[in-house]
Every structure is written in structure tokens, then in C-alpha cells.
Amino acid sequence: MSMAEGQQGRLAPVQFTGARSELFGLLFRGYLLMVPTLGIYRFWVTTWKRRFYWQNTVIDGDPLEYTGHAMQLLIGFLFALAFFLPIYIVFFYLSTQSPEITLVGYAAVGITLWFLSGYAIYRARDFRLSRTLWRGIRFDQRGNAWGYALRRFGWSILMVLTLGLIYPFMAGNLWRYRYSHTWYGDRQFGWTGSWKTIAGPYYRAYFVVVAALIATGAIIGNVQAPLSAGPGVFFAIPGTLVVGGLAWFYLRSREATRMFSQVRVGDTTIAVKVRARSLFGQFLLYGLSLTGALVVFGMFIGIVVASLFGQAMLNPGAEGAELARILQSGWGAIALLVAGYLGLIATFALFGEVFLGYGYWMLVARSAVISNADSLKSVRATGEDRALVGEGLADALNVGAY
């Protein structure tokens, strides 16, 4: 069997060579350039970000290459816009109707969007794969995006009906669908897992969280007089949050480890090992640096406000009138408000990407080991390239990460 032969094959490491500071620099510059371009530059930011991740992921000595262009994302977005316009008009029409109709209508639109997001996720993955090269050979995704959307939609209904208990079956089914339609040149990927791959960690995390919720409910429910409650009530809710958070890190790390390790390309296999504590470490870094950044940002805004309105503050007699006059003169205050808001959003996005996005990618990539890597040397490029043509509607929705 090919598995036995595979174990004798050469092991190849995966490295990740990108520095966090480099990603920070390119995102910072990108966010600044989004201001004069009124947001148009975001397609370039996405492209630069992907180039960073791709070209720093070095598999057996050769990096991935992202061949996509910002222009393709821009065109894809225009398609998506044409697609959303009718939905927007429906929204407008519904908002003029009676509250009952509005509610039912919004629910229907919400369900439609949820269904479409499955389609968009699949097309976006297709876009990224077909613009990925390794050793000069292109990846690709086939299969039917509508079929995938329908499948995912059906599973999500079952998820609601079973209170999430069916998740391992859904995950197994969708991972298998995605990977069995993924190609590297003329060689097909596969996924050898099943619902059992993630069932253990998932149900452990699920029942720990449910038990914590029940315990919290019992503690709070048992207390007759809330004011005289002991430390039990005081710790119950934060305790549940901590348990939930730890369960999430545990599940996320086990999922990365187990699901990726079932991926195959012909005889070549991959093994990934992500630890919960490494993932938690990235989150801790994120929390600390975000707090620091927000303090600095708040001080900066404070200084700007103080220098703008310092005159009014120093002159207590005319305080109200002076402040009102400055505010009334108008555009300065609004510019400050808008800049402050955009700065805040950008700070969150920047640190989220530099610590959480980068952290996850880096942990998965660095822990990965490829077995039987030499069997990939015989992969041939498939026929002519449809990757150069824009792929229509959902490219720009960018529903997936990275």
C-alpha cells in the first residue's frame, strides 16, 4: 500500500521566513495609502499581504508564489457590487413595509446571504489556489461552488437542529469535499480523515463548556439574596469565560493538527502539530500589544484635542461659548472624529493580522513536515491557464482568511 512506501520517503521541512515587522510595515503603509485613495488601495493591501505569506512559506527549499494582481480583486469587487445591488434594493423595499413583513423579509435576506457566503468561500479559495505556484506548477480547485454552498447550507441547518453536536460530521464532510477537488498540477489532493478525526477534541471541549454553563446557572440560581452572595457568584461568570476561552484554544489547535495532517497529494503526506499553548501565546502577545497601542493612540488623540481646544479650556469664562464656536466652525471636529474612528479600526485590524493571522499561519507552517516529498517531482502542469481571467462574482468577497 502506498502509505507504507510513503513512510520510507524523504522527509522535507516547511519553513516560514517572514518577519512580523515586515508584515507590520507593509500593512501600516497600506492603511495610510487607503486614505488618499478613498479605500481603493485595500485591494493592493490584500495582494501585498498574500505575497508576504506565500513567498515566505518555503516548502522543501522552494517558496510558494502568489501570482494574483490587485486589479483582479478590484474587478471581482465590481462584479460583487452588481450582485449585491438587487439585494440592497430588496432591503430598501422591506424597510418601507410593516414591521412583521420587515422582520420576515430580513430573515429571508439573511438566510440568502448565508447560503451565498458558502458559494463565495468556495470561489475565493479557488481564486487563491489557482493563483498559487510552487516549483512553477499551479494549484487549482475544481468541483462545483453551488454544490458546495448547498452542502454547507444543509449542514448548517443540521448544526442548529442538533445544537452543534453534528459538527465533526460536517467538518469531515466539507474538508473531504474541498481537498478531493484540490489539485496540484495534474495530481489530485485527498483527505483521509473522517468525523472521528476531530470528534474527540470537539466533544471534550463541547461538554466542558456545557458543564461550566450549567454550573454557573446552578450557582447563580441557588443564591437567594444576590447581595449576600459569596465568592462563588463572583467567580462563576469570569470562570465560565476562562473555561470557554481555553476550550477554544484547545479545539483550534487540535483541529489544525488533526485536520491538516489528513491532507494527501498522491503518495505525499503532511504532518502538522500546533500546540494550544503556542496559539494562546500568540493571543497573549496580541492582547498586550493591542493594549499598548490603544494607550498610545488614546494619548495622541488626547494631545490633539487638548492643543485644539486648549484655548477654550484655559479661559473658563468663555468656555462654553468658545467650545461651541470651535465646534460650530465644524469641519475640524468632524475630521477629528472621523480620523479617530478610522485610526481605531485600523489599529484593531493591524494588530489582529500581525499577531493572530500571522501567528496561526506561522505555527501551522513551521510545524509542518512533508513525507515522501520526492514523489512530487513528477507532477506535470495541466493544460492552458484559466487563472489569468478574472473569476467573476465572489472573488472579491474574500470570505476566507488570508
Partner: protein
């Protein structure tokens, strides 16, 4: 000069360690790629066809326009990369061309977006009134009923919803109805105006789509003369006649779409979208206020009252609260000074006409909300500058 590189031919996923050098001069020169062991020639790349690709730091990746899509030569380390760039001037040329193309695309896209915004800001007020003409009045009436129900619900949950004088045949209500009917006479509006005085602590008056208008008791408390009352009512009826409620709904939705386009957030729910939309919409609503003022002045000319009373009342309400002025730019009402000038310029009083309200009628209107002492009259008592 020989350079070492990694080579992928774009057909098979193999890695070749190669040595390459430039053969020939000028436009006919070619990059010869040979196996580093056997020195056998693998490929020749025309030196003019090469182009650079994005690679990580300290690495130069190049492709060739006349070779398979995935064919790559990869030079590692700064020295080799620098020598390769010197050897192949086409790389710098293509890099500049690509950069220029990107900048042009970015510039055109930004310029297009700017022109969309400009066209929008100046075009939608014109367009919205045209589109409103296409909306059947029945639909607008139906929408108005929905909004009335929503407002009643909101007020009931909050401070209570109470019509001050529910008897439609009372002196006050008959006077108001007669005023409204005369004000819209000859305008051809498909709506029957319906003005209700409501007991609340908020000093405000507004018109809804489909002909409904509200006049709040807190504003009536601060209204000192019949001219002021007539001015406000004529102004609100102006909104009804010009169908501003419907117009605003259309233009606000269009603004949401535009902001969504800029931010890439099609749900249009984000706060930045909200701020931007408010800025643009306030422009439209200021234009609508001017239109309603012009209508009020026109009614004043026909019905012999002073439209500047409207400005007096607005000033009195605004002086209660400095912060309302502070946020003037964002508020839906234009600056009072500007309006006052416009209104006074429009004032022409023909004394031969019958006045809008008789003294008895105005007295009845003024006392509409008085019999039942509610929270409204309590909280208004500290506003000392009225009824002096």
C-alpha cells in the same frame, strides 16, 4: 559572467540547479540556462522577454513572456540578484512599466470614485425628486401609516403618546385643519394633510411621508404668537407637498450604498458608514429645509402672516441648548441666521387678506394641551424665558 540559480521549466515540478550566462549582444541576446553538473543546455531565454516577479527579500524571481506560465529562474542572495539585474536591463524596464500600470489603475479607480461621489452629492438631490415623482402616492401613504405606528409605539414605550385634543370638531382642530387645507390649496398634492398636536417633552415638529405631521406640546409651549405657529405648520406642510420624507428615504438609502462601496462594507452598517452618510445626508436635508421655508413664505404671502416668526421660534428653542448649535453641521436644520435672512427677504404682508388664525382660534390652539397637567408641563417650567 556565470550566475547560479534555481530553475523550474513550468512543465514539471522539478528543481534544476543551473548556471546561466548571457549569449550575444543587444536585442538578439539570450540567457542560456545549463545544468550545473553536466553543463548541458536546458533552455535559452530571450533577454528582452524576461520580467521580474515578486519574491522575498534577497531573492530575484524572473519569468519569460515566451516560455510557459510557470517557468522561473530564481537567484538567491543579493550579489547574484544584483548581477542578474545588471545583466538583464529588461527587468528594470518591465518593473517600471508594471509600476506605472499599477499607479495608473489606482489613479483611475480613485478618480472614478471621486467623480461618483461628486456626481452623487450634487446629482442625487435633483435625481431624488424625480424618482419621488415615480413613487405612487398610495405607496407613500401606506409607508406614512407604518411610520406613524412606529412613532406611536416608540413614544408609548418612552414618555407616553397622547393626542392633546382628540375631538376633531373642537375650535382648535378645526382652525388647524382649515389652515392646512388652505395652505396646500392649488399645489396639486395627492395627500390630505393631517396635523396632530402631541403631548411630549421634546420641542419639535415634523412631517412624515403621506401627509401626517406632528406638532409637539413642548414646542407649542414655546410658541408665542399665531404667526410663529402658522410659520412652523406651513414649513412642515412644505415637506409634505415636496414629498421630502420619501425623497430623504431614497437619498439616504443611496448614500448607504455609496458609503458601502467606499468601505467595501455592503451591509452599510458600520459606524464610519453612518458618520459619512450623515455628513452627506445633512447636505440634502438642508436643501429640503430651504425648500420648505420657501413654501412657508409662499403660504404666508397668501394667508397674511409673518414667516420670520418661524425663525424667531427656532432661535428661542436653540438658545435653550448651546450644544445643538455646536453640532449644527450635522444637524438637519440649517443655521438660523441664514434662514432668518432668507425668510425676511421673502416677507411680504398684504393686510387686505384675512389672517391665518383669529385671536380666539389662536387662544384655543395655545391652550390645547393645558387641562391635563403632565410631566411635560413640569419639565418645561424651568425654561424661564417664555411667556414673559
Amino acid at each position: 559572467m556565470d550566475l547560479t540559480a534555481h530553475y523550474h521549466d513550468g512543465h514539471v515540478a522539478a528543481v534544476h540547479d543551473v548556471i546561466c550566462w548571457l549569449d550575444g549582444e543587444g536585442s538578439s541576446s539570450a540567457l542560456v540556462i545549463t545544468d550545473s553538473q553536466s553543463r548541458a543546455e536546458l533552455e535559452r531565454w530571450n533577454a528582452d522577454d524576461v520580467f521580474p516577479l515578486y519574491g522575498r527579500k534577497g531573492e530575484l524571481r524572473i519569468g519569460s513572456a515566451s516560455k510557459p506560465y510557470g517557468a522561473r529562474l530564481v537567484f538567491s542572495g543579493y550579489p547574484d540578484a544584483t548581477r542578474a539585474r545588471a545583466m538583464l536591463p529588461a527587468l528594470a524596464v518591465k518593473h517600471r512599466q508594471e509600476r506605472g500600470k499599477q499607479l495608473r489603475t489606482m489613479g483611475i479607480a480613485t478618480a472614478a470614485l471621486v467623480s461618483v461621489i461628486v456626481a452623487y452629492v450634487f446629482g442625487v438631490p435633483l435625481l431624488a425628486s424625480r424618482i419621488v415623482g415615480l413613487v405612487p402616492p398610495e405607496l407613500e401613504k401606506q409607508l406614512g401609516e407604518t411610520v406613524v405606528a412606529q412613532i406611536e409605539g416608540a413614544l408609548k414605550a418612552d414618555a407616553g403618546f397622547e393626542v392633546c385634543d382628540p375631538e376633531p370638531d373642537s375650535l382648535a382642530n378645526r382652525a388647524i385643519a382649515r389652515f392646512a387645507a388652505r395652505a396646500v390649496e392649488g399645489t396639486g398634492t395627492p395627500f390630505t394633510p393631517d396635523i396632530q398636536v402631541i403631548r411630549t417633552t421634546i420641542p419639535n415638529a415634523f412631517a412624515l411621508p403621506g401627509g401626517h405631521s406632528f406638532y409637539f406640546s413642548a414646542l407649542l409651549d414655546q410658541t408665542e404668537t399665531a404667526d410663529e405657529f402658522a410659520g412652523v405648520m406651513a414649513h412642515e406642510l412644505g415637506h409634505v407637498v415636496h414629498r421630502h420624507g420619501m425623497e430623504q428615504l431614497i437619498s439616504t438609502s443611496a448614500t448607504g450604498l455609496l458609503i458601502g462601496f467606499i468601505l467595501g462594507d455592503m451591509t452599510g452598517l458600520s459606524v464610519a458608514g453612518g458618520v459619512g452618510a450623515a455628513l452627506i445626508d445633512s447636505r440634502f436635508s438642508r436643501e429640503a429645509e430651504r425648500q420648505a421655508d420657501r413654501f412657508a413664505a409662499d403660504v404666508a404671502r397668501r394667508m397674511a402672516f409673518q414667516p420670520a416668526g418661524l425663525a424667531n421660534l427656532l432661535e428661542r428653542v436653540a438658545s435653550d441648548d448651546q450644544m445643538t448649535q455646536a453640532l449644527a453641521l450635522l444637524s438637519t436644520h440649517p443655521l438660523t441666521a441664514e434662514r432668518r435672512q432668507a425668510l425676511e427677504a421673502l416677507t411680504v404682508i398684504d393686510t387686505s387678506l384675512q389672517p391665518a388664525f383669529t385671536a380666539q382660534e389662536w387662544q384655543a390652539i395655545k391652550t390645547m394641551c393645558e387641562p391635563a397637567p403632565g410631566p411635560a408641563s413640569d419639565s418645561d417650567r424651568h425654561k424661564t424665558d417664555k411667556n414673559g
